[in-house]
Amino acid sequence: MISWTVAAPAVGAAFAASLVEAVEAFTIVLAVGTLRGWRAALMGAMAGLLVLALLVVLFGPILNRIPLHLLQLIIGVLLLLFGLGWLREAVLRYAGVIPLRDQQAAFAADTATLSQEAMSRQSGLDWIGGITAFKAVLLEGLEVAFIVIAVGAGHSLLLPASLGALAACMLVLAVGVLIQRPLARVPENTLKFGVGIMLSAFGVFWTGEGLGIAWPGGDLVLFVFAAAFLLVGLGSGAVIRRSAIWTAQ
């Protein structure tokens, strides 16, 4: 029986994180496709998906052989490293220290880089474009796979988390094919802020369970952790914004 107090945040985190990663991968594949045609872009993307699927099939069964407490500890620590890293970046963007990511600008930069690389190398743009699309899909896909495993493996939620991630990827693909432009309106930093909070909360929860801590309130303590990370993140960002305004004055 699935507990929705854990399943809902897990599926939500997988969906939102996959939305961010799929948008980033789509921007790069779109740059390759626009610059050189869709053959190189699609071949690279498909190859990336194939390698990703092979890695999941190859390493997935290993998870079943690891004792649950050790698995929770390993995934919990990795979630803390990954989630707090995302949260840090999102807070710094919210505070105005790092500029917000602009998919239109990222698309222009990717296109310029591809053109420069093609000019400076002997190999054709098809090859460079294909490799670029391959790397984008593989790296962003690995992040999606990690998030799905991380939020799903500890409580047998791999299937719901996978479905959440798949729904996000299909949504980005459908909208992307429809408008054939970078998905600039996706509120990427807000999503990253939310996902960073959820992954950090899961990270504390599973690291603790892996260490043998019986959290008061059971699964419900996840919401307390998430609320604390939200308050601390927003508070830190607000203080930095305010101090930057004072310094400017």
Partner: protein, 73 residues
Amino acid sequence: MNLVRDVAKGLLGMFVGDAALSSAILAVVAGAALVIKTEVASTQLGGALLFAGCLAALVGSVFRGARRPQRIG
């Protein structure tokens, strides 16, 4: 080999975006594990240490990041 190196770099970057933050997190987890495994205090106190330590690591990293020029990924 550039491809393999780029993928390995990307994978490492997933977990070690900011070395100081990653070190702080690992130190907090090690501290909590030490408290729990040596039974210095209750597991609940170890949990509180883990939770508070992660919040403190985040705040410290954010304020440190605000004071120095950023590399935009």
